[in-house]
């Protein structure tokens, strides 16, 4: 009992912060989503008006939602495949491998704003690295972030910059696969591809599942790149859900509306995550 109290005393600063800055706003936002609220004046109850407005009268809401889903559908699988493939390469027994692992991990610890600024230069239509290289082989690259057909794809490609963190989890998973499984597979005459297909991938499904869930949640919250690089443009092509929510809240002081948007997003992410969870019995194999 005594030791419990001491334990609670030690975590009390965090507990207080968590309650005040996370739990309270979380609960308050449910109420605010049914209000007209602009920070300055007290909230005024409007019932389901914010939700009604969102679903029936706001085409930009649907545009932002579609953009975000499109991004999630493209960036999450691409991130998983790339990170997994990289992890397979970085798992090879080659001299100096720790250096390669460090090199691939490093970009993921560069602050998002810094890497975003770098990509603005890399994707510059005239003097950027990518278009300069393309020009050398006779191709005039697109205007990337300034072209509504390419801006979203630029951000999807850019998302690969941060796969280092996922690579580490895949590497840890790969190290955890019992060698006996590979030995048995070799005895059965399995080649490298068969071993990957029938041993490595099934044994890695828990890690893939974890990264899939985290990737989906992260993709639905995409904000920084679009905020800094494109401001949602050109022509709303990179207007992400979180960015539109932010504009509604802080540019137009429409906190009630933004709260409603936040709850729609929360429910959507919950439903998608639950659906993915429901499928996991069919394809995730736990070694134990």
């Amino acid at each position: 009992m005594q030791s419990n109290r001491i334990g609670y005393a030690f975590i009390s600063p965090w507990l207080a912060g968590f309650c005040i800055f996370t739990i309270f706003p979380f609960v308050a936002s449910i109420y605010l989503s049914f209000c007209r609220y602009d920070i300055i004046s007290p909230p005024v109850w409007v019932g389901f008006a914010n939700y009604d407005e969102l679903f029936r009268n706001d085409p930009r809401f649907w545009k932002a939602l579609w953009n975000t889903i499109y991004y999630a559908l493209a960036a999450v699988p691409l991130g998983i495949v790339t990170a997994f493939a990289l992890a397979l390469f970085l798992n090879l027994e080659v001299r100096g491998m720790s250096v390669y692992r460090t090199v691939f991990f490093l970009p993921s610890i560069v602050p998002a704003v810094a890497s975003t600024m770098i990509f603005m230069w890399i994707l510059n239509p005239q003097i950027g690295l990518i278009n300069s290289l393309l020009r050398k082989v006779g191709i005039e690259g697109p205007a990337w972030l300034n072209d509504s057909h390419w801006a979203m794809h630029s951000l999807i490609l850019m998302s690969l910059w941060g796969v280092g963190g996922a690579v580490i989890t895949y590497l840890a998973g790969l190290k955890d696969i019992p060698v006996s499984l590979y030995e048995a597979a070799v005895v059965d005459g399995a080649g490298p591809w068969a071993r990957t297909r029938h041993v490595t991938i099934p044994m890695m499904t828990p890690v893939i599942f974890f990264n899939l869930i985290m990737g989906i949640i992260g993709a639905f919250q995409t904000f920084t790149q679009a905020f800094i690089m494109t401001n949602g443009g050109p022509e709303d092509s990179t207007l992400f859900y979180a960015l539109y929510l932010f504009y509604r809240a802080w540019r137009y002081l429409d906190m009630g509306y933004a709260s409603a948007m936040a709850w729609v997003l929360f429910l959507l992410v919950t439903v998608v995550t639950a659906l993915v969870f429901r499928t996991h019995r069919k394809w995730v194999h736990y070694g134990g």
């Binding site: 602009d38 005024v44 510059n124 205007a143 050109p234």
Partner: protein
Amino acid sequence: MADRRYTALRRAAIVLLNLLLVGTFILIFALPSPAQRAYPKRIPVRFWHMWSGEWKDVVDRIVQRFNDSQEKYEVVALSVPGGSADYKFLLSVAGGDPPDCMAQWNQVIPAWADEQMLVPLDSLMTPQEWQDFQATAYPVALKIGCYKGRLYGVTTGINIWACYYRPDHLRAAGLDPDKFPTDLDELWEWGQQLTRTDESGAITRMGFLPGWYSQYLPVFGGSLYDAQSGQVTINTPANLRALAWLAGKQKELGYEKVVRFQSMLNTGGFATQWPFISGQYSIALEGQWRVEQLAKFAPDLEYRTAPIPPPKGGKAHAGWSNGNFMIIPKGARQTQGAWEFIKFWSGVDKPERAAEFYTWGGWLPLSSKIAQAPVYQDYLRKYPQFQTFLDVLPSENIEVSPPVPFQVFLADMTGRADDFAMRGTKTPQQALEDLEREVAQEIAKRKRFGL
């Protein structure tokens, strides 16, 4: 024995840690505020602004002058990062502890005044002072500072845009710098003659790039706001004419060519990086602050200025304007002290004294009284290019963003419509029709929400 020693050590460690924790808290709260007070016995007036770098130095000098002139108040200035200044201000008002005054340049007056967040500054004047203010302030200063007939912001610097041009480029192209175009289409023709491309067709020098829609609306006689009815006006013939002209010229240049040209310019935001200095623009539409910057960073550059020429049937000395203005939030502890500072800086009470401050920042004054002050006249003699802006300043044809509570939304949507039309994704007519519908939806939504 060992157990007892371990327990004693553990207790000592816990006591020490607790003492350290309590000590840290005491130290944090007991430390003096980082903002040093030069006159601790005076009443502090907390002033927020968003300037940094060379501009912050100018603001600090003005604050210093005010404090030197005072015995009662001390202005304590705080430079707030521009990107988050509005949020900080809103939260400070909501939290009941706002600054006493703030220098702003964002489009905040209609929305904030509508929320009853700002002190009407005319309430701090006598009826005679308010009358004098309205009679002497430039029309654009009143447009920037007023909302529904009340004054919420006093300008300390107005921005006017005009053409900067390089006579060396003009001469080389066989154009006479002394006969700058007085018609917008003629200016466009000049721009075409001045533009240079490389062998691949990429633009290497832009003769003249018109700019953004809001700036040209008044030039074509259009406007997004009807002051008589207090209504937003979007899809009007004059507004359409302006957008169609801009979209047409953009098409002639080639949208992608312009994007590629602009993307290779060194536009890091520093005064020295302005492409006009490096000769990548021959004629550029820019604000009056460039005069001061060119004097500082490119003193040997030969350049001249001229008002934006109107098209046939358009308006002379027209354009869009904004400015720096001072506001006092409701809940400010030192409203009177803040008002004294605003009067001091803006020149509401002593125009001759304030004239000097305007010259420090290369700012356009609040009233003609300030412009006529000897020190301001000296400034004009020193920088004759500045005269163009002062000539345009009294014009009734200078427009500001519509004074409606959803001004930021309107500005965002207008910029979006402009972008659609420039890219050619929508025809100018379609872009304006869509904009009109979007704004009508927002107005209807506000009505449904009782706003």
